[in-house]
Amino acid sequence: MTLQRRAEKKVAIALLSVFFLFAGLQIVSAAASEPIDQMKGSVDAILRIVRDHKPELNGELAASFRQQIIDLVYDRFDFRAMSQLALARNWKTISAPEQDHFVFLFAKLLENTYYDRINSYSGEEVIFKEQQKKDDKAMVSSVVVKNNTETPVVYKLRNKNDKWLVYDVIIEGVSLVRNYRTQFDSIIEKEKYPGLVKRLEDKIANKEAAK
């Protein structure tokens, strides 16, 4: 193949990817209204990155892909609402800057947890099944299929400016937010709020140290 032919091919590929990108954008905007489509869009985009790039580096994702995945997560999850619900009655007892700080910490923790899950991906299939909508809330149910096991995962979402954002994830009937709420409650009871912050910081620091 001559150099020129090669260059032509490259241009063609570039044009094609641009085309697909726009086609993709159109799909996104057309489907933007339904919570199930928005949720599926995010999950599919994340899985695509993992499927396309995981085999490259002995099954470990490169740092640049980590950022892409994390961005997609932050684009769909309402960590502020999750923090608020997880702290429940304790949320109002802390100051606004403390709230912001807490949201940052809790999001970081969930980000790490989620990324671990993604990184241990081994060919599971995610199937979105149905949605229920009521005013500005929605529940989207999905199953994660691996071999013969189906794990039901339900997302609870809230509508904010036509964007459906996740405020709870329910895996096999276990709500993430409620699970953390009982733990946070028991920690705050024993160690007060600063104790909880310390625990969050320590956990995150351990994780960051491992990078």
Partner: protein, 385 residues
Amino acid sequence: MRKLFNISAPRSIAFLLTLVVFNLVTVPGLMAVEDDTFDDEWATDEFVAQIPENNGGMVDPLEPLNRVFFTFNDRLYFWVLKPVATGYKAVFADEDVRTCFSNAFHNILAPVRFVNNLLQGKIVGAGHELASFVINSTLGIAGLADPAHHEFGLVASDEDLGQTLGSYGVGNGFYICWPFLGPSSLRDTVGTVGDSFLDPLAHLTMSGQSVGYALQGAKQVNKVSLHIGEYEQFKEASFDPYVAVRNAYAQHRHSRVIDEVDAASGYGVSKKKDGSQDKEARSVEDVRELSLEKTGQQAIPEVFVENVQSGYFVLVGVFRDPSNVEQQKERLTRVGKGGVVTRYHRADYSFYGIEVPGGDDFLAAKQTEQDLRMAGFQETMVVWH
């Protein structure tokens, strides 16, 4: 980790049955079945009101003892079960083979599920179980394969006596963490004991035959080998694993009793309140095709953290108001540190973080953090981009 061995002593059965009668009389409906479709916590205008937390209806008077057994089970997992299962996994490297064993263990418990479906008046579920059992025991070669599901589209309707009792309004009683068996409740313990009469493996174990123990052990090891790493991840994400497991158990069993999980995954006999049951629930195959159809390229959002260099940073604070950012930067300058401002974008808002570069490795960053704390910056943390 649950159910390593079934309880066998008849005396303990009698004791537990006395307890359940007591439980029926005094604490029915401790775990109130509420309409949980949409969280009521959002119903209030400021959506975090006083939310009563009751561990999902699970009281825990035995906590000190339970914690001992929890630690015991935890050690058992890390010191015995996991190493054994890892070795076993190396022998039966093909996951399909282990899935077949798991199918077979699942298949012989069909009588338990059949009876409990009937006890809950779930005729369809019982029919599915019966048909699956017949098909899988014959065509599926003693249950090793699952043609009932894959070829005939029959889905398991996973009911046990604990759920049956729950559907009759029997409360959990209280939380019990059994050694070897793991998390349970008074009600579910009674259920497990009752179900064991229909469990061929339990019969072998109860009659004292070593093959019974061997098979129970094999069942558990096989199961663990298919789920290595899951308990670890769960534990890592939690602050008090004991409380996390207890709450997860309560929530999970609650959802099983009210069949939330069945409804959500579109199988079993769904009990949706609005009567629109199964209208939208599509079969797994349908949806699989659908999702393949819709999968196109999609735009990835632009980088959500601005002004970022790579490496470790010490985050000094997060602010939504830019004027606070300037104040904080001045404070940093006074103690001789330079901060960079990073803008973090979230789904519906963004905020600023002030970060002091912390060098290439974590320990150096930790040292920088220490210096900053000495200088009066308390809410710091090390981050990595």
